[in-house]
Assembly symmetry: C2
Homo-oligomer: 275 residues x 2
Amino acid sequence: MPDRRRTVFFVSDGTGITVEMLGHSLLTQFDGIEFDQMTVPFIDSVAKAEACVARINEAAVSGNGRPVVFTTLVNAEIRETVRKAEAFVLDFFESFLDPLEAEFGAKSTHTIGRSHSARDAKGYTHRIDAINFALAHDDGASSRDLDKADVILVGVSRSGKTPTSLYLSLQFGIRAANCPLIPEDFDRMSLPTALQAHRRKLYGLSIAPERLREIRNERRPNSQYADLENCRYEVQQAEKLMSREGIRWANSTTKSIEEIATTIMQEFKLERRAY
Amino acid sequence: MPDRRRTVFFVSDGTGITVEMLGHSLLTQFDGIEFDQMTVPFIDSVAKAEACVARINEAAVSGNGRPVVFTTLVNAEIRETVRKAEAFVLDFFESFLDPLEAEFGAKSTHTIGRSHSARDAKGYTHRIDAINFALAHDDGASSRDLDKADVILVGVSRSGKTPTSLYLSLQFGIRAANCPLIPEDFDRMSLPTALQAHRRKLYGLSIAPERLREIRNERRPNSQYADLENCRYEVQQAEKLMSREGIRWANSTTKSIEEIATTIMQEFKLERRAY
């Protein structure tokens, strides 16, 4: 019989965010097994690796079967230390650095902590600028500098514009403004005046009325704002307006923040400004 | 002689964010080679894979040497299609799904698009709640509901509190408030009143005065606010206050947003509420 439960460790000499994402996406391919997932970041010395191995070995006798350990460890000695754990260990770097060295005809530097952008001052500045831009232009707060936006998200209140704008800024360094479509726009059946000069930068978000009701109801229980009929009306009118104006849109009911953000990058042929 | 420049493709049946991060962290291990990096997301059919191969093959004759292709493709047919490109192809899934199947005694489902949290309604709600919380409690905007915060960041203006709070909310579903330490706190040498009941949740950010000057100077050029002596004074006083109050802190001068966020998760033993 296959296992029902496993303890999983993501071990990294950096933040562990990359190994966590990759390991997690592999684990989602296995149904019917529950995974207790633990991230162990900043394992950048043999001593820390030994402490980590002790934790893994404790888990090994806890009854969940052999622990699974995903690692991204640049240093061979640290990697060998972790490999001695009573566990099934998969290292993402080991499998790929050697073939890449052969392909490039160059040795890798085996330097710990190169993944994120603190050392990439330009990328960092792009991210911070983009975050400030998203905050200053959240929910139609300002129409100043809209010409500096890479993209302007539109959609009814609570359709997912804010998380998408913030994700674009934090993850990609992309400047995203967002502006709600509200009943008075539908009465006029035209875009808010401030947006009309920026039509080519507009991207819409829509959402299933039932889902919108749930989200709005958590915010303002039993309000007209959250009423299903009202949600239906607003979504229908917003889609009608976007169609008339030739604005493409994605549906946030079934798409994750990451998927919407990536779709926007693709539609507008935007390139990351930060890693 | 080793290559000087290579074109790199990150190909995924999902957003490509995972493969991009992992591929990018491998490439940072090679000095002296410039990489032209391109992400090709949503390759979820053989037809799209063929179009992608055509793009790769175009790059192959562009003079940058053989393209390098990193993929995370769940479907074997799509993977085989991409593998036919005139390129050096490394697939992250192929190398790991087989050993994991053997280890678990279970077949993987080979289902495309499972990585992100749209299908994980609870995780999505956590993220959205956390984002709303971070926005409502940005820059000391509100001291309501601070008891619901997982962590409250403190530090001088422009020390990196906002990006860190937003990252914690978006990436991990963690509720982070942030509150500036300002000259009048230093005059009294005590924490803002609203924070005194939440001492155990406080985490500090500090920054090198020279870096702080740069950041503030972009915002308000040649102001007293951005003056180096003033920056030195504020940073010194903030560190003195945090020491006195027993508040741990990280330095955002040399740490990325990801590194600070991960450090905080670790210090407070917080667990991700979303993937």
